[in-house]
Homo-oligomer: 443 residues x 2
């Protein structure tokens, strides 16, 4: 009988430990990413989980001959001597003089798209059609490593602030925020819906855990084929109770963003460098009321017709304004009009035309909507009726209010959209591993 | 202009800091969980995110009178003096002598189920119908705090082992593991499917990141109405490349389980104590081959007819056997029959009738299936054909193999099921916040 102890006895040496083995023979494993045959010697670039390792083949020290078996995308175990070299900028680098290669697997064909160059050069559709291959390119995979860092920072920060992680069901009996844009599903003869948002569940859990968050897919049946809409995306949501005001929510987000940016700079430094990510510096984030922001836009921009909301060009202008005025990449716009925010938003007691709500603009593009929610039962029922909703259809949701809820609020943040803007992409699909839109459900 | 700095200036004192404020007046916030009027004084139990705080009202030190406004489920801000007391077992405890109460919100009605007692006593359906309320009971909410700890431990351990967190799409163009039990969805005129498993995506990402994991919902159109099936559940999956054998996968899982149990004992101690969770001690986990385990069952149990798989009573027997023989709550059963495992499972080269696969039994119940996968293109195509599948329908999946993949394998672990067995429940619904089954999609 074999016992499993939990230890993996690996004899492999990761790149990070090369500096302790200079002049020694080590064993590494990886995928052959690129071969450059220089006639009397060859560079064999080994791709590992986060690095490219330069290996050198030469009859001088290699105990084998370069054969047709040694091809790009083959996986290999390499034993080699660690040699220290210098890059042009003077930083230390290690390369390997290969003694021997053991092939672990071989591809059956060469990739349909070149992935061994610095950049994958192809049309967006080709890039996406071939995701299982194109993601192997170091720059492509770095995008989603950065994305991992964003959500990890969000989560770690909230856990450190005593938030509880929840999982709300994605099969819902009713659309959380009204009936449009929801995917319908046959569920053993009943019609059910895919969750558009965890809104009603996260609110229900505020009286349970006080502070909750969820990072999970949401589904929107968007008919638009635009550069920023997805039909399935990852929503990072939180909701917190016992707030003293909706500033608490903005403060929590600001704290999370600071933490995320710092995490990226430290633990995701290789990817930040590879993609030349312009990480924003955050000390504090300025705020402006919707009506003041609108006045600014009207003063500076032409042809503004919609006085109740912003057009993308107005958000772009406000982004530039925040940068000039406050040297900030972020701007909170607060107190949006009541008729433009969802039924659960709390109106400002000092001016019921506006709400205790906010959007966060990042470099001129909205990345978050949030605000304080109504916690009083009668107030919520009344606002539903005013909006033409039938409170009886929301009986389960209203349990929250009926049986007591503290003052609370929260926000939602689209993971792909934040990744997109942080990396400066013009299309959210570049920041989505396997995008789903009106034309695409593959791969 | 107001600036948001990321700091929340809270004047509240959490329970954990009471010991530094003995004799002082502090401010706390919470929900009034229970009021016990003792005629000349009253106990007001305040529920915070993870504790119940005993507060005492008495005209002697309280600057207000108990009124009809002060009811259970009202939310309040309390200023009170910290007093140290002792519990029966001699441990330290703090209670608050209330000076004043400020009500932050009031319920509109009393809860339909009593939640202020130690246990919620009601039928399972009533418990679930009223989840937004019943979860407020400290024992009920503790279940899902433990569940949080399990997934957090799984994730933190894998991140420490250089796994990358992924999000695979839940809207799929084809069922990942065959066409039965999948939910179908109309997607702008096309038929698409809800993901049964992230299997094909996590494998596709092995050549990209080497090690990946995902914690996300999966959907199965189970027609069975049993105590252990759910139609939506949280699957904890990982997949790792460059393995030396499928033992690496079992070792990774064992390491993760050790880490999880330790995390529960430390950071989730209040909930472990409240629910009297019997946390298993793991030093190492024994293994037994399927055929040897079957032989044991045949020897000890009667009426075994299916020689290709286990009945629940056989797993229960094997669980007891592992406990007696090795004092282990866990048992890996390995080398299941090839015809009983999915098409991507690697056959044992020494005996192609069996596979390099395993199940993990926890106290006699299967909680994990895992194993090594086929990485060679021709081998995978051949096995698909043998299973009557058309490789052309799996073109995207086969990109993984065609363009080179390292030896790899992984596993899946149902979060609710593990929670259920750890807490000793007989029905998985007790360990599911908002269960979806053939009869239930609410709340």
């Amino acid at each position: 009988m074999q016992e499993i102890t939990g230890e993996i006895n690996s004899s492999y040496t990761p790149y990070g430990e090369f500096k302790n083995h200079i002049g020694e023979v080590v064993t590494v494993k990886g995928t052959i990413h690129n071969i450059r045959d220089m006639s009397d010697f060859a560079f064999i670039i080994l791709r590992t989980a986060r690095e490219l390792i330069q290996c050198v083949y030469s009859p001088e020290f290699s105990d084998f001959r370069l054969s047709e078996d040694i091809v790009e995308q083959a996986c290999a175990k390499v034993s080699a001597k660690v040699v220290q070299s210098q890059t042009r900028d003077g930083s230390e680098r290690y390369e390997l003089q290969i003694h021997n290669i053991e092939l672990l697997s071989k591809p059956a064909d060469i990739p349909p798209v070149v992935i061994s160059k610095k950049q994958v050069v192809c049309d967006l559709n080709v890039l996406l059609d071939n995701r299982p291959v194109t993601l192997r390119n170091p720059k492509e995979r770095a995008i989603f490593k950065i994305q991992e860092g964003i959500q990890r920072g969000f989560r770690d920060y909230l856990i450190s602030k005593n938030f509880t992680e929840i999982h709300s069901p994605k099969i819902n009996f009713a659309g959380a925020e009204g009936g449009t844009n929801v995917f319908k599903l046959d569920y053993f003869g009943k019609t059910v819906y895919l969750a558009q948002s965890p809104q009603l569940y996260k609110q229900a859990l505020v009286p349970v855990y006080e502070r909750v968050f969820e990072i999970a897919p949401v589904f929107r049946a968007e008919h638009h084929d635009t550069s920023r809409h997805l039909n399935e995306y990852i929503s990072m949501d939180f909701e917190m109770g016992f707030i003293d005001g909706f500033e608490d929510i903005m403060n929590m987000e600001t704290g999370a963003l600071k933490y995320i940016m710092n995490l990226l700079k430290t633990e995701y430094a290789p990817e930040v460098e590879l993609l030349k990510v312009d990480i924003p510096e955050i000390t504090s984030i300025p705020t402006i009321k919707f009506k003041d922001a609108k006045a600014l836009c009207v003063k500076k921009l032409k042809n503004i017709t919609d006085m109740k909301d912003f057009e993308p060009e107005e958000e772009a202008f406000l982004g530039k304004w925040a940068k000039q005025q406050y040297n900030s990449d972020f701007l909170f716009v607060t107190h949006y009009l009541s008729k433009k925010r969802p039924f659960y938003t709390m109106d400002d007691p000092e001016d019921p035309e506006v709400t205790l709500s906010f959007d966060l603009l990042f470099r001129g593009i909205e990345i978050t909507s949030g605000g304080q929610r109504i916690h009083d039962y009668n107030q919520q029922v009344e606002k539903m009726k005013k909006s033409g909703m039938n409170p009886e259809e929301f009986e389960t949701y209203l349990m929250l209010h009926k049986y007591g809820a503290p003052p609370h609020g929260g926000l939602g943040l689209g993971l792909e959209r934040l990744t997109m803007h942080l990396l400066g992409f013009k299309n959210v699909r570049y920041a989505t591993m396997f995008p789903r839109d009106i034309n695409r459900v593959t791969p």
